[in-house]
């Protein structure tokens, strides 16, 4: 297995800048997820690394080798496609064996490897069948088996789970993670599903409009998003954002929001006071807001609009000043539309966004 | 554009076809034009054209061709439409029906002519049938070129043979109409006829247009059917072209006839493209 290095890669389609000045390094045996909304360039980037698209500018290295001008077959990669691309005219065995056959591997080695891959994916009994006789989930397994059967340096996956139904997707996600940990593959995985990204990746590269906005561990991307977009994109429900004005009163930094005042910790306060423009967005996730039934010091008053009981918890939409926020509460928390509640924000979990640029600020 | 990365693959794949069609399609066209409007010495002339228009055979051929087209095309359309709508009804054995209805596509116009000749000929099946019904006791000479009957026979033969072409285009068009539209019409009270007239036909307009153009262009070239049924008794434009080339050994006149056929084809295509557009506004 080996490292993937992408240096200053650009790819345009006509006038559309699909990938623009992207740098990326995937370490050996690392599982990196390319995450982003439709059209952000993640699939294009993956295809450039695979060699299915020619880059306009920049270089790509796989395992220290410059593969920029090489066709896919010379890059020592394996790939799982979104629609599986399992060859309909070949049996499952021949499908899994395809890469090995193209490498002219001897018969018994082919048999051995196909068998091993099939076992890992639990499709040993399907080897004689044709893809038309298989379900979608089974075909997907064949596609994965085909990819791990060969000695590829890196494994590329293009939204492999997106065509499965919800339940199957959940199962396959866990199975995939376990499998890839076991074979210790360097993997680059594309998805638009942020839950998948958080669950699977060692690191996530969040992309938008052809560029990588943040490249970090799932925890950091979740807790410390680099900007407004990422904060709103990751997490379900998306991060709440409140308009805030930074003021210094009596030597203390205070942020005025429509729903009340927030007092940041001193290091954050120092950072905020240095802003050229004092407008900020206070980002806070639904699970980091404590809901109190009675007025409490430091808590902001809000009115319940909608209560959605989701089984494991309640999702409550509240009117906080001029804005609406979504808050998680325990399942047995009773609330009625129109009721007044008090919200205490977890100060340490607030993500402070500079309104002018949309970038998140973190104290050094 | 980065010239080094210019992808020549598709052009390479297209090249043989472009060369071939240039050689065996475009060039003969130009040649045809040349033959029709030049003398043997290569001088531009309208003499051939004039000769064609004054030719006795021309008037007859034109009249016959036009009569055939006027009789055949509408009939075919109605029949093909009925056949296509029947397909929509989801009858048992539709698969077999679709196959049967498209069998004539495989039938040469010469074979079709011979077949209908066998029906209309003096000792043919039609006369035998009429005799068995007691309608006649002596064979009726249908293919007497002094009557209109040969025309009828030819019309029947062409309707029989070429309706499939229209049928296939219409069925494909019909199947591409989402059922939702028809079902919505039904829910909102449209009866069968209303559904056909107000929903299906307007949505079928592109297919109808394609089929009409295709069919008319083919109809202008009608050739072997006529000879098979009426022999020398009746001539059409394509036949005149053939005669002038083969028997009178005048490729110039033959080419002139060919150009005339081409002109009619293009004019009718143009007319249909216009007419069907306005018709749509009327239906809606």
């Amino acid at each position: 297995m080996a490292e993937i290095q992408v240096k200053s890669v650009r790819k345009t389609f006509g006038k559309v800048k699909a990938v623009w000045d992207v740098d990326l390094t995937v370490h050996d045996r690392e599982f990196v997820v390319l995450l982003g909304p439709s059209g952000c360039g993640k699939t294009t980037l993956l295809r450039c690394i695979a060699g299915l698209e020619r880059v306009d500018q920049g270089h790509i290295y796989i395992g220290q080798r410059n593969v920029t001008d090489l066709p896919p077959k010379r890059r020592q990669i394996a790939m799982v496609f979104q629609n599986y691309a399992v060859f309909p005219h070949l049996t499952v065995f021949e499908n899994v064996a395809f890469g090995l056959r193209m490498q002219h591997k001897p018969k018994d080695e082919v048999k051995k490897r196909v068998q091993a891959a099939a076992e890992l994916l639990h499709i040993e009994e399907l080897l004689d069948r044709y893809p038309a006789q298989l379900s979608g989930g089974q075909r997907q397994r064949v596609a994965v088996a085909r990819a791990i059967a060969i000695d590829a340096l890196v494994l590329l996956m293009d939204e492999p789970l997106s065509n499965l139904d919800a339940l199957l997707r959940l199962e396959m996600r866990a199975e995939l993670k376990r499998l890839l940990q076991e074979i210790e593959a360097t993997t680059l995985y594309v998805t638009h599903d942020q839950v998948e990204a958080l669950s699977l990746g060692d690191r996530i590269a969040v992309m938008r409009s052809g560029q990588i906005l943040q490249y970090d561990t799932p925890l950091n991307v979740y807790d410390k998003p680099a900007n407004l977009f990422i904060g709103g994109f990751i997490g379900n429900p998306p991060m709440n954002f409140l308009d805030g004005e930074v003021r210094t009163e009596d030597g203390q930094v205070v942020v005025h929001t429509g729903g009340g005042d927030i007092y940041p910790p001193s290091d954050v306060g120092a950072m905020l006071s240095r802003l050229k423009e004092p407008s900020v967005l206070v980002g806070i996730r639904a699970e980091n807001i404590e809901t109190l039934p009675a007025p409490t010091k430091g808590a902001l008053q809000a009115e319940v609009l909608v209560v959605e009981p989701l089984g494991s918890h309640n999702l409550i939409t509240m009117q906080l000043g001029p804005e609406q926020v979504k808050v998680n509460t325990s399942a047995d928390f009773k609330a009625q539309p129109g009721q007044a509640l008090w919200l205490r924000l977890n100060i340490d979990k607030i993500c402070w966004i500079e309104k002018a640029t949309g970038r998140a600020m973190y104290p050094d | 554009m980065n010239l080094k990365r210019f992808n020549w693959e598709p052009y390479l794949l297209l090249l043989p076809s472009i060369l071939y069609l240039a050689l065996f399609f475009a060039w003969p066209m130009v040649q045809s034009f040349g033959l029709a409007f030049r003398t043997d010495d290569g001088q531009l002339t309208l003499a051939h054209m004039q000769r064609m228009f004054n030719d006795v055979g021309f008037t007859k051929a034109l009249r016959n061709t036009v009569m055939l087209i006027i009789a055949i095309v509408p009939l075919q359309f109605i029949l093909a439409l009925i056949m296509a709508l029947l397909m929509m009804e989801r009858l048992r054995g539709s698969d077999m029906l679709v196959y049967i209805y498209s069998i004539p596509l495989a039938i040469s116009d010469l074979a079709a002519g011979i077949i209908w000749f066998s029906i209309f000929t003096e000792r043919g099946y039609l006369n035998s049938f009429l005799y068995s019904l007691g309608v006649i006791d002596k064979p009726f000479l249908f293919l007497n070129y002094q009557t209109k009957w040969p025309l009828v026979a030819i019309v029947l033969a062409e309707v029989w043979r070429a309706t499939s072409i229209v049928f296939v285009v219409l069925v494909a068009g019909l199947q591409s109409i989402p059922r939702d539209y028809v079902e919505a019409a039904e829910v909102f009270g449209a009866g069968w006829f209303a559904r056909v007239w107000r929903v299906i036909l307007p949505l079928l307009r592109p297919s109808i247009q394609t089929a009409l153009i295709l069919r008319t262009i083919l109809a202008v070239q009608v050739f072997a059917v006529v000879s098979a049924i009426a022999g020398r008794g009746m001539t059409v434009l394509a036949n005149e072209a053939y005669l002038w080339y083969r028997e009178y050994r005048n490729p110039h006149l033959a080419a002139t006839y060919a150009m005339f056929i081409l002109t009619i084809s293009l004019i009718t295509a143009f007319i249909y493209l216009r007419a069907l557009r306005t018709k749509e506004e009327m239906i809606l």
Binding site: L52, P72, M79, F87, M102 | P10, S108, Q175, Q221
Partner: protein, 275 residues
């Protein structure tokens, strides 16, 4: 009220079936007649009235036809021309169809429109100048020249049909093949071609049938080496009726039989789905 609509519907249904069957009969009965005629002995063919059900079945007429001068030759010529047409149009047309299906490139629409517009041009207009040209090139009265003209007729359709066949094969499959070790040509031959084969075969057979049936060009371009329809046409007035019937039958049968075998693919090519 319910009963009224039910019986109305039933009548409608019955009428539909009746109509469908009537039309089917209208198509099949003439074919039946020519078959009966071809398998009738000569005296029956000349006799009148003919019984609508065959009384005697005999190979007399067919044998008379086959053994007539030049008939076997012209049958064989038809086969040769049709095969040549099939092969050439596929060899030239399929790559073009593949290019249309897989690539986006400047000029694609122009090319497409040009191909589509060839349908508007009658074949009549090609055969006469080509006859003159072929004479100059000493290609006159050769089977290859008929095939060349037939290819010109069939090529546009072949290109469009093969294009839709290849579009039906997912591009991802060829991409997967290149990832797993194939170059572009191998990806085509190992993955795209096998999957496109049924559609290509259907298109090829349809081209064969088209060439087999063609009369005008074949008659113009040949004198001695005629195809079957050309020979039949030229001799039409002079041939006795049994000869014509047998000839018609011979032209008819292979075409109808071939169409039967490829009907499913043809229908899917034209965009018709069978239930």
């Amino acid at each position: 009220m319910k009963q009224k609509t039910f019986s109305r519907r039933l009548i409608g249904r019955v009428l539909a079936y009746l109509l469908a069957i009537l039309i089917a009969l209208w198509i099949l009965i003439p074919i039946y007649f020519i078959t009966v005629a071809a398998f009738s002995p000569k005296d029956v063919i000349y006799s009148w009235p003919k019984s609508l059900l065959p009384q005697t079945i005999s190979l007399e007429t067919l044998l008379f036809f086959i053994n007539a001068q030049y008939v076997l030759d012209s049958l064989w010529n038809s086969v040769k021309v049709a095969l040549l047409t099939l092969v050439i149009s596929l060899v030239i047309g399929a790559p073009a169809g593949y290019a249309l299906a897989r690539y986006i490139f400047p000029g694609k629409d122009v090319y497409r429109i040009m191909i589509l517009s060839t349908r508007a041009f009658p074949i009549v207009i090609l055969s006469i100048p080509l006859a003159v040209t072929f004479m100059q090139w000493d290609l006159y009265d050769k089977l290859i020249s008929v095939a060349l003209l037939h290819v010109a007729m069939a090529l546009p359709t072949t290109i469009l049909v093969t294009s839709s066949v290849f579009m039906g094969v997912s591009k991802e499959l060829e991409e997967a093949a290149t990832v797993f070790g194939c170059n572009r040509i191998q990806a085509f031959t190992r993955v795209a071609l096998p999957l496109a084969l049924p559609g290509l075969a259907a298109s090829a057979i349809f081209t064969f049938v088209l060439s087999w049936n063609e009369v005008f060009a074949a008659t113009i371009l040949t004198i001695q080496n005629r195809t079957l329809p050309a020979r039949m046409f030229v001799q039409l007035a002079a041939s006795p009726i049994p000869f014509r019937f047998a000839g018609g039958f011979f032209i008819l049968v292979p075409a109808v039989v071939f169409m039967f075998f490829i009907r499913r693919y043809l229908f899917s090519l034209w965009g018709i789905t069978l239930k």
